[in-house]
């Protein structure tokens, strides 16, 4: 059973996020993490890729770091593109940098659910999202993913901003 979040909760997180540290970012252009990173960069987010095997190199023009502790702040969100059992260790590393980053959110990707990691993050006062993709959620709430026939579960009664400028996500 997928965890459930309100549209307002997800929209609030996305509106208050500028910089995302993506743990498990891949340099392979057909991997899901590359898709998400490409999309988020295109939509105005700063994305810092974390991948020990590629430290010092670049993905999509962004410098890759080997670990969260090496990333200069600020970081609003840590996005976990790793297996669920890796999540608690990543959250522990993230919490160690919480004040320096100004960290607000731990986000776990589609298929990543780990209640231990979620509880650690909640106890530290962070927002937690599991089993979701920020690319899909941004596309859904802006309206853009409707172009793919996806059921957004949103009704719009006002003219949204053009989708490339955030669409409905940029209201309110």
């Amino acid at each position: 059973m997928m965890p459930s979040y309100t549209n307002d909760y997800i929209a609030g997180i996305l509106r208050n996020t500028r910089t995302i540290a993506m743990v498990g970012a891949s340099g392979n252009e057909m991997r899901p993490s590359y898709f998400a990173m490409k999309y988020l960069l295109d939509h105005g987010f700063k994305v810092v890729p974390i991948n020990p095997g590629l430290a010092g190199k670049e993905i999509l023009g962004q410098k890759v770091y080997g670990a969260l502790k090496d990333v200069p702040g600020p970081v609003d969100m840590v996005d976990i593109f790793r297996s669920p059992d890796a999540a608690p260790g990543i959250v522990k590393d993230a919490l160690a940098e919480k004040e320096r980053f100004g960290l607000k959110t731990i986000w776990m990707q589609l298929g990543v659910v780990n209640e231990v990691a979620a509880q650690m993050a909640r106890a530290a006062g962070l927002n937690v999202v599991m089993d979701r993709c920020p690319k899909i959620e941004y596309g859904r709430l802006s309206g853009e993913i409707g172009w793919m026939g996806v059921n957004r579960r949103v009704i719009d009664n006002r003219k949204p901003a053009t989708f490339s400028k955030g669409g409905s996500l940029n209201r309110g």
Partner: protein, 427 residues
């Protein structure tokens, strides 16, 4: 949005005031193509890394509103529009089937679907087996290692037979394969197959969804609930895709994988795209679906009850009648109504059937169903003319059989027209 009711979704789901102009009704984006912002953005679009419009064969902003609306009404994850209901079936099966695989289908299907599955699909080396769906266990008996899906109609054409979706879904899932339901005759107003366990829903939107007999259109809804990775039966979804640089749909798109693959493989390569104009007409029709569908059903029940008492009528097959074999399934699956297409037999046989269609003055004699207008056809002299009498009877098209699709006119006028035509036919 799950809080919004069905009637609200029928009007609003998928639509938004146009971002460029504020137009409230969905604009008809009558264009083949969409300009790229840059070479980099074009590459990202073709790689499926960003969402956006490329070419109307694959997606179009008008059509997308229709796609999202049907997904919302069916309670699914993704919708996809096609040029016809038949095209929707081709695309859905193309995503699931490999040469040598089989579709296990109900015998109670629209005749056009029987032809598509048994004749045309054989050219792709897709097999098809048909079983009597009145007994769900018949499906279990015909499952084998080559079976890739079960295909049924929620309310079957032409008999108005109602299918036990939940029981058949359980049989499909026990074999690790999806249940595909053609929901054309019920529409999501009467039955939402996904709530009963269906994994994919297909429509001929030409019928009640459009409802006005002015466009041919098809739709696919992916429930997002089927686990495509549970076995190795669906390589299109789970294996690296050569035409997308080795991307795997199931890994990359998760619960949208089937719907996305239908679009970017099926529509892209097979080509049966819906025109934006027809998408607009279908969208406009859907806004009044709940009102029309209830009126269709109420009229059909009144007409069926009246026919049952008519001396020139031998029998009436309508699941809404208390003594019909499908009455209990109707109360379980679609208590709001049993649809508005049904068959009845005239006492005078073939000649009486021909005379009836020749004498109606309000009914239209044609081969469609699900129109605002009441429609009538005598299958033995038209759609099933090429069959001998035994085969006609086996197909539910015996010489005395009349099929009607009851419209949304005044019931008293529909009844009066049938009455004068039945009496004239007997003279």
């Amino acid at each position: 949005m799950s809080d919004y009711g069905f009637d609200t979704l029928a009007v609003h789901a998928g639509a938004h005031p146009d971002p460029a102009t504020g137009a409230r009704s969905t604009p008809i984006y009558q264009t083949t193509s969409f300009v790229f912002e840059s070479a980099d953005q074009a590459a990202a679009l073709f790689n499926l890394q960003v969402f956006g419009n490329i070419y109307t064969r694959i997606m179009n902003p008008t059509t997308a509103v229709l796609e999202e609306r049907i997904a919302a009404l069916e309670g699914g994850r993704v919708g996809l529009a096609t040029a016809s209901g038949h095209a929707a079936q081709v695309i859905a099966f193309h995503t699931l089937m490999e040469p040598g695989c089989e579709i296990l289908a109900a015998r109670q299907l629209y005749g056009g679907s029987l032809n598509q599955l048994s004749q045309s699909f054989a050219k792709f080396n897709w097999g098809a087996k048909f079983v009597d769906a009145t007994e769900p266990e018949n499906f279990r008996r015909e499952l084998n290692e080559k079976t890739r899906c079960i295909f049924i109609e929620s309310i079957a054409n032409p008999g108005g037979f109602i299918t036990d979706i939940e029981a058949i879904a359980a049989i499909a899932h026990s074999a690790g394969i999806p249940l595909i339901v053609d929901n054309t005759f019920a529409t999501p107003y009467l039955i939402r197959p996904i709530e009963w366990g269906a994994d994919v829903v297909v429509h001929s939107a030409t019928k009640y969804l459009n409802g006005h007999g002015n466009s041919i259109a098809g739709l696919i809804v992916d429930s997002g609930k089927f686990d495509w990775g549970q076995n190795n039966k669906f390589p299109t979804l789970t294996e690296p895709c050569p035409s997308y640089h080795g991307m795997r749909f199931w890994e990359t798109f998760g619960d949208m994988a089937f719907g996305v693959a239908c679009r970017v493989l099926g529509l892209r390569d097979l080509g049966p795209a819906l025109s934006p104009m027809n998408a607009f007409l279908t969208l406009t029709g859907i806004e009044t679906l709940p009102l029309r569908m209830q009126k269709h059903c109420d009229n059909a029940l009144e007409v069926a009850r009246w026919l049952k008492r008519h001396p020139k009528v031998a029998w009436v097959n309508y699941a809404g009648l208390e003594d019909d074999p499908c009455y209990n399934l109707h109360r379980t699956y679609c208590p709001k109504g049993a649809g508005s297409v049904f068959t009845f037999g005239v006492t005078g046989g073939y000649e009486a059937g021909v005379a009836l269609v020749n004498n109606v003055r309000l009914f239209s004699h044609l081969a469609n169903v699900g129109d605002t207008r009441s429609l009538i056809i005598h299958p033995a002299s038209t759609t099933h003319r090429q069959l001998d009498d035994d085969k006609k009877r086996a197909a539910g098209a015996g010489p005395e059989v009349i099929r009607v699709s009851i419209g949304i006119e005044d019931a008293k006028d529909i009844i009066a027209d049938l009455d004068q035509a039945l009496n004239a036919a007997a003279d």
